[in-house]
């Protein structure tokens, strides 16, 4: 379903930017907002931007992916107005930002749940968090160690510029990834690869796992996660995700360089509006919770 996303993104950027070019010739008050970063967020933000531009004719938004690290580096190097990021700033980035002397406004506009997927032939449907850590650290080599079939484990992950790569390492791996992890270009590639690989395991955003009709993409088994001493929780259990019982849920950020103003502010507010949050939910992500709403309000960006 998402195989052509990158191409589509590129085409869209070209279309949106040529649009803004021609519109720019007609009326001069069009304001362009550049948004770069997280591949997890790019499709969602694109849809939000398209809807936003329908309501606000003098704005022009260009959205590109490239990974959270890329978005943040672009923000630091002043090449984007908004950085999409699926992880908080790390200490090195904070240092660089302090050195440059600006303040970053972290807005949380959605939540994402990460699902661990395996090939159906691995014959595994539940794993504990520590088992997944073991698998990704390279300490387990065969699915039979976890009650599955006798198939060697084949690891798939993202590249180090991905926020998901960093998040998964912090929460699950808690060490170095094994050097045999195949580093894929994007989530869609992980899904394609695990579908073809009988021993494959990968981690993906839930938005990529479900089709538009809310059905799991064929040829993948989403793994239910076991937190020590509790019953397994499926990544398809939406209530568990919203209540915070599913262990792999993370906030999705948008960072701005200094206080957002003008169209950037208007767009951020649109995302946080009821309409914006409905689009978030429709795309397989999750609306922000009360404490995140409060944090946004404290920044002066929320809608109260």
């Amino acid at each position: 379903m998402q195989r052509f996303t990158r191409l589509k993104n590129l085409a869209l950027v070209v279309i949106i930017s040529t649009n803004s070019f021609f519109l720019g010739c007609q009326h001069t008050n069009v304001e362009t907002v550049v948004i770069k970063g997280s591949d997890t967020e790019v499709n969602l933000v694109q849809e939000l931007a398209e809807r936003f531009m329908e309501t606000d004719a003098d704005s022009s938004l260009t959205i590109t992916g490239g990974g959270s690290g890329f978005g943040i580096a672009s923000l630091i190097n002043r090449k984007t107005d908004i950085a999409n990021s699926s992880r908080p700033l790390n200490s090195k980035e904070k240092q660089l930002i302090d050195k440059q002397g600006f303040r970053v406004y972290p807005v949380i506009f959605a939540q994402d749940a990460i699902a661990v997927v395996v090939h159906p032939k691995a014959n595994v449907s539940e794993l504990s968090l520590s088992d997944i850590g073991k698998i990704y650290r390279g300490e387990a080599k065969n699915w039979k160690e976890f009650g599955g079939s006798d198939t060697p484990i084949s690891l798939y992950g993202r590249q180090s510029n991905s926020g998901t790569f960093v998040y998964f390492r912090e929460v699950i791996v808690k060490g170095e990834y094994d050097a045999t992890v195949k580093q894929m270009n994007g989530t869609a590639q992980i899904i394609e690869a695990v579908k073809q690989d009988a021993g494959g395991i990968g981690y993906v955003g839930i938005g990529y796992l479900l089709s538009k009709k809310d059905e799991v993409v064929n040829g993948l088994t989403p793994v239910s996660l076991v937190v020590e001493g509790k019953p397994p929780i499926s990544p398809l259990d939406k209530a568990a995700i919203l209540e915070g019982r599913y262990p792999l849920v993370r906030p999705l950020f948008q960072f701005t360089n200094g206080e957002p103003t003008g169209k950037s502010l208007k767009f951020l507010r649109y995302e946080l509006s009821e309409e914006g949050q409905q689009i978030v939910t429709k795309n397989g992500y999750f609306e922000i919770n009360e404490s995140q709403k409060k944090a946004n309000n404290e920044l002066g960006i929320g809608l109260n």
Binding site: G67, K182, Q196
Partner: protein, 310 residues
């Protein structure tokens, strides 16, 4: 030369001639400047790579960089900057691709030069050159959806994102270079060699293998080395097709990550003026040295056969 033109200019009172000589002189200097610019750009790239890359050695020892097998600059624990496994991966994939491209390329070149009827050659030659026009992203895509699954099913593997996949794609991509240069080399063998061979009773196969190919050997080797240079520097295709695991390769079916892929993956996210940033320049400088020496060797060998041909 400029004085010559001036002398002629003063001799000729015709102002039209003067104008033409001025234009001649002007363009001589413009083109000379253009040629100098190309060299300056090359030098500039090299110096930039070396200066930025060199600063890495303030933080990391030579031994760790060249002989370390773990590359993990955004590590959870200690950062590691060893490029040995990616150099081995790069060389491994490249040599493998030449093993595939050599028989195909030389065979095609020999066929085009000596055997193909003119009409067929007129179709084949541009078709082969068209191969060079296929974007590397498209080749990589074919690697993911076609070559990878094919390798997996032929060899009974779980997945086809490995060194062999990259090598097959690189072989296809370097074929136009190999075939074009090798064909020139084979065609430059004087007809008298072949006539002498036929005269003593050799058939076409014997003439090709025992006379023509050995006579064109230096040109054919140059073709292969130029193809190698093409393959070493290729980025997108290997990035998409080889799986990019950072481990040291142990066989054909291991996933590998080349130097080019590492730079492409990591340069986008790296904050400026950090050890990681400088280390990527150092990898770039190494890559530049490898392709430069490959091209110099090819040039040296090729000039050997060109001079002899005259």
């Amino acid at each position: 030369m400029a004085t010559d033109i001036n002398r002629v200019g003063t001799l000729a009172k015709d102002s039209n001639l003067k104008q033409r000589l001025f234009a001649d002189n002007l363009f001589f200097w413009i083109f000379r400047a253009a040629a100098a610019l190309a060299i300056l750009v090359l030098l500039g790239i090299f110096l930039m790579l070396v200066f930025n890359g060199g600063r890495m050695f303030w933080d990391i020892g030579f031994g760790e960089f060249f002989f370390g097998t773990v590359w993990n600059p955004s590590a959870y624990g200690a950062e590691k900057y060893g490029i040995l496994s990616m150099i081995v991966s790069t060389i491994f994939v490249t040599l493998l691709s030449m093993l595939i491209a050599a028989p195909l390329g030389i065979g095609t070149a020999a066929f085009l030069a000596d055997f193909a009827p003119q009409r067929l050659a007129n179709i084949l030659k541009p078709a082969i050159e068209m191969l060079a026009a296929v974007p590397s992203v498209a080749v990589g895509f074919i690697g993911i959806v076609l070559v990878g699954p094919a390798i997996a099913s032929v060899f009974g593997l779980n997945n086809g994102l490995n060194a062999l996949n990259g090598a097959i794609l690189l072989a296809v991509m370097s074929l136009p270079t190999v075939i074009t240069v090798a064909q020139d080399a084979i065609q430059s063998v004087p007809d008298s060699y072949k006539e002498a061979s036929y005269a003593i009773g050799a058939n076409r196969w014997e003439t090709l293998v025992k006379v023509t190919l050995p006579a064109a050997a230096s040109g054919i080797i140059a073709a292969l080395i130029l193809g190698t240079g093409r393959a070493v520097g290729e980025t997108m295709t290997v990035l998409m097709a080889t799986g990019n695991a950072t481990a040291m390769p142990t066989g054909l079916f291991d996933s590998v990550r080349t130097m080019t892929a590492t730079i492409a993956i990591e340069l986008g996210e790296v904050p400026f003026e950090t050890t990681h940033y400088h280390s990527l320049f150092a990898v770039g400088a190494m890559l530049f040295l490898i392709t430069l020496s490959v091209n110099l060797v090819a040039e040296w060998i090729a000039s050997g056969y060109r001079n002899r041909g005259q």
